[in-house]
Amino acid sequence: MTTTWQTALKWLGAAFTAALLVGASINGASAHEGKHKIDAKGDKCVRETEFMRRNHMDLLKHQRNDTMRKGIRTTQFSLKGCIDCHASPVNNSVIGTNDNFCQGCHSYAAVKLDCFECHSSKPRPASPATPHPLADAQAGEMQAKAATSGEVSK
């Protein structure tokens, strides 16, 4: 008898813990999404949101060195491109309040954001005329595909 009771209790405990975990993760996700709504003018980022959350700093740093040192000015991972797309319609900036795209997430994650001590946090005046970076991304993907399949795209 005791063994049956013990097994039943174990099962109950496991089910309870699982329910708790699921609940917590759902609550966590919704709170996170609610707090950090993605402000963007375009339909799609240059990479998936999950990838960008973890790796945007590496892409930006790579691009920064290429542009600063070599004068390579591709637009796909350009900080100016990010700002053009993610500037808030409220204050026309990516910083200023915790509702702004860059500052909101950085203050949530407690990571110091010093790009905008030098870089402009506002979009370029002619930003509607500039091509969306996604255009470059698609071209890049096409080139990459061509390269892997052995085609020469030039």
Binding site: D66, M68, G71, T74, K80, E117, C118, S120, K122
Partner: protein, 245 residues
């Protein structure tokens, strides 16, 4: 003749016609202007950008190049003129005996052997492959050794916070900065702001071009007219040359 050859000949024809069109316009150096690279291509050492300043055409009292530079690069006054950054300045020179005076703009001379690069302890001060001397603010620690090393007093330290930067020209407190030869414009195939402003004012005292290309307007002028480097004795091989000093 194959189709390929025909196409090639047509293209050559178009090229010759275009070149002839460029040559017809007097005083317009369109061949020099067509210097933009594709965005994904790095600057390379086949080019060396430089300026030729004709001080005989530079008008005393005119500061169009200075204001154009500061407007283009977002260099604004902080209300403390003694520490305001200065990317380009006008200098009035007067010979004491004859009283002859003339005027010229002084800025980063984009040396081939830049002392600012030699002394920089972090590698922030560097020369790009095409000869443009720049400060990488990401790694500049603001020690100001480069300011002391520069014989032209071309560099400035940013003492105060800025909030109204131009998207193309990031700048902020704690770094050294100087004339970038309007690198963001040059990379697009445009002229530096000072050169454009001087042309607009009708003085045409500053010429921009490729010092490595013997056929460029600037190289031809340097090959035929007496020009000087300021402090040529230092053997820095400056990218900015002066005429009439």
């Amino acid at each position: 003749m194959s189709d390929v050859d025909k196409n090639r000949r047509q293209m050559i024809g178009v090229g010759v016609a275009a070149a002839a069109g460029l040559a017809i316009a007097p005083g317009v150096t369109l061949l020099d202007l067509a210097h933009g690279r594709p965005a994904d291509q790095a600057a390379d050492s086949s080019k060396r950008w430089g300026l030729l300043v004709d001080s005989t055409k530079c008008t005393s009292g005119c500061s169009d190049c200075v204001s154009a530079c500061h407007t283009e690069n977002g260099v604004t006054s902080t209300g403390h003129p003694e520490t305001d950054p200065q990317w380009i300045r006008k200098i009035e020179l007067t010979e004491i005996r004859s009283g002859r005076s003339h005027s010229l703009p002084m800025m980063c001379q984009h040396c081939a052997e830049p002392p600012c690069v030699d002394v920089c302890p972090t590698g922030a001060s560097f020369k790009r492959a095409d000869g443009i001397v720049l400060v990488d603010r990401h790694i500049c620690i603001g020690c100001r050794y480069c300011m002391m090393a520069c014989p032209y007093k071309a560099r400035s330290f940013v003492h105060e916070e800025h909030h109204d930067q131009k998207p193309d020209v990031p700048r902020g407190k704690g770094c050294v900065e100087a004339c970038t030869l309007c690198v963001h414009r040059v990379d697009k195939g445009e002229l530096p702001a000072c050169v454009e402003a001087c042309q607009k004012a009708g003085h045409e005292a500053i010429l921009f071009g490729d010092l490595n290309d013997p056929n460029s307007e600037i190289s031809k002028r340097i090959a035929t007219i007496a020009t000087k480097q300021v402090r040529a004795d230092l053997n820095l091989n400056t990218g900015v040359r002066y005429q009439g000093i």
